[in-house]
Amino acid sequence: MSVAICRVYAVIAALYLVLSVCGCATTSTVKFAPEVPVMHSVSEFSDDERVVDIEDPWETFNLNMYKFNYNFDRYFFLPVVSGYEFITPTLVQKGVSNFFSNVGEVRTFYNSVFQLKGKKVLITFGRFATNTTIGIGGLFDPATHFGMEAQNEDFGQTLGHWGVDSGPYLVVPVLGPNTLRSAGGFAVDAGIRYVIVGTIDPFQNVKNGYIILGGISALEAVDTRHKQKFRYYESGYPFEYYMFRFLSNKKSELLLMK
């Protein structure tokens, strides 16, 4: 996933410009009369604790990124994903998902090692070995049927495991809701992956191998979005940003306990 997403970033800068310009164009210029004091304001409830409160010093940036991701999804990413889902048989989609999950076992493996989690190391190794061989290069997932449940570790969790604070909430372009720690961890995992791929260099004897690699990365990005059900603003709930911020933070906090 990492490399794929990194490549997608190249496209983003340009799109962001375009979309921000579009955004500005639609900004309302309606001017209301002077504001009038409100019937119920926040000071009235200052004797209670705040709900779903997560520290968010970069809220303005995050809200903008949240909106940007919505537009990126709407005008680019999701149409591509829909096209992929339309032309590809479900069985093939499943195989693609399995393949990239299997590649992702490498990340889980070394991060489990970093965290000295022996059981996870063994299970992940077992999964990778099983699915790469019996699962025909990872296209199938027999390991789960054999009782080896998928584990999930990344460098962000490794940092958390060794006591690094999660840092502020951060909505990353395309990737979506993160914390500074998880976003940093993602970058490290991407770097490690880059080095591994560069070392193995699977297409060294193929002419224009980098194009194939790029295609694989793009496919991975599409597969990643295909697997995610989340759609920005889909709940229609005006406070979705706050609920989602809370839930995603809480979830990663809980996962870190394991």
Partner: protein, 425 residues
């Protein structure tokens, strides 16, 4: 994530739970005795009917009120979202109205849609008039709660949806149903249909309806009276319940947020009866917060957002969220809806207003028409004392009352679903 598709995942997802329980010996197999537990847990998967093998669905985005001006803060709202499930042959069409704060894809709506589809009906699901998307895109006055106005809005939506699909599907008859608040609204929509005669609904089913919204809201709000410090401390309550869940998670041998974890929460009796009630009250507050905010913005009402303030797409809304969660629907009725109606009918007394929030005003019609049916439960906590008998009086033997199930907890139980679908036969 329906409005709470966006719900507080840790509690409301309890609905996924597989439960094994011993049924009381009354010939009814729904296993969960408690009203609150049933409401939160719903129906265990193994007691549901099998879903249809495949279902043909199209998302409708309706431009119901073409002249509407949407403020920037709702920039993502592109029109009213409804869902059509269509047969490839001539069949009756059932409209389904969602309950309080729910959209066209909420769990209960989808369950009804699938069962109806499997039985051979076309289905169009409609969001509740209390759902933000509806308030913004389909409500003429943007103030939900008045049953007559809501019915007119719903009727307009149904006509718009029908106009959009009638070239593509063959329909023999029209039916109508709704659950919770949507059930109550279905009665008013049917009444309007007697005058307008666009659909001539042959049958109308109300599932766990409120008899009077004001009474029901009072009862839901009471659930919060018992939390420490009362409803004003709902934020502290939320946080303490969250801490409780976190501690539970830390202790146990869980990894994923799956059925096993939720099952464990249920079995461990982590939350007391009063706490469960509080969680139900809290989830209603979270839902109504979205409604209050959306309406206030659309009307420039000055209730929680200062009048004449223009919010942009990326303005922080956290403070408004906090305020809205602290306001009950009783606040909304008394301070927002009632004054709004007073502007139209200056003579309207408080008692008349409260009566207008229920079935009483159209009881003559309901009694005289044979097209209605009701399904509800003995222990549905949104019904005030006497209201169940009132339903029996109104609808006679077309009232189906189950001994338990809380508020909609047993909706997906196989007996209930069989009865639900069979009603339209």
């Amino acid at each position: 994530m329906n409005h709470l598709r966006l719900v507080v995942i840790f509690w409301i997802c309890l609905i996924l739970l597989p439960v094994t329980g011993r049924a009381a010996d009354d010939g009814y197999g729904y296993p969960i005795p408690g009203s609150y537990e049933a409401t939160i847990l719903g129906t265990p998967d193994n007691l549901k009917l099998a879903p249809p093998d495949k279902i043909a669905i199209r998302q409708l985005v309706l431009n119901v009120l073409p002249d509407i001006k949407k403020p920037d803060v709702f920039f993502y709202d592109k029109g009213l979202r409804c869902t059509l499930a269509y047969q490839d042959k001539k069949a009756p069409l059932v409209f389904v109205i969602a309950g309080t704060g729910a959209g066209d894809q909420s769990q209960n709506v989808v369950a009804m849609m699938k069962s109806l589809y499997k039985a051979g009906y076309h289905v169009i699901t409609l969001p509740s008039p209390t759902y933000p998307n509806f308030i913004i895109s389909a409500s003429y006055n943007h103030v939900p709660g008045d049953l007559t106005e809501d019915a007119a809005d719903l009727y307009r939506v149904m006509e718009t949806a029908w106009n959009k699909v009638k070239g593509d599907i063959e329909v023999s008859d029209f039916y109508l149903c709704g659950y919770s608040l949507g059930g109550t609204q279905a009665a008013f929509v049917a009444k309007l249909d007697e005058e307008r005669k666009v659909f001539n609904f042959r049958k109308v089913l109300m599932v766990n309806p409120a008899v009077n919204l004001y009474n029901s809201v009072m009862r839901i709000e009471k659930l919060l009276d018992k939390i420490p410090g009362g409803p004003r401390k709902i934020g502290a309550y939320f946080n303490s319940m969250m801490a409780k869940f976190t501690a539970f998670y830390r202790r146990g041998d869980f990894i994923d947020f799956n059925d096993d974890l939720l099952y464990a929460v249920y079995r461990s009796k982590l939350f007391s009866h009063v706490e469960e009630g509080g969680l139900i009250g809290l989830s209603y507050r979270i839902s109504s917060a979205g409604m209050i905010f959306s309406s206030d913005i659309m009307t420039n009402g000055g209730y929680v957002v200062p009048k004449n303030r223009s919010l942009s797409a990326t303005d922080p809304l956290g403070d408004y969220f906090l305020v809205c969660v602290h306001l009950s629907l009783i606040n909304y009725f008394d301070e927002y809806l009632y004054p709004y109606l007073l502007k139209k009918w200056p003579e309207l007394t408080k008692a008349e207003f409260i009566d207008s929030l229920g079935l009483k005003g159209i009881e003559g019609y309901l009694k005289s028409s044979s097209k209605f049916g009701v399904m509800t439960n003995e222990n549905d906590f949104i019904l005030a004392p006497g209201e169940l008998d009132y339903l029996r009086q109104l609808f006679g033997e077309r009232t189906k009352v189950y001994p338990r199930g809380g508020h909609l907890g047993n909706l997906e139980y196989r007996d209930n679903m069989t009865y639900f679908v069979g009603f339209f036969k």
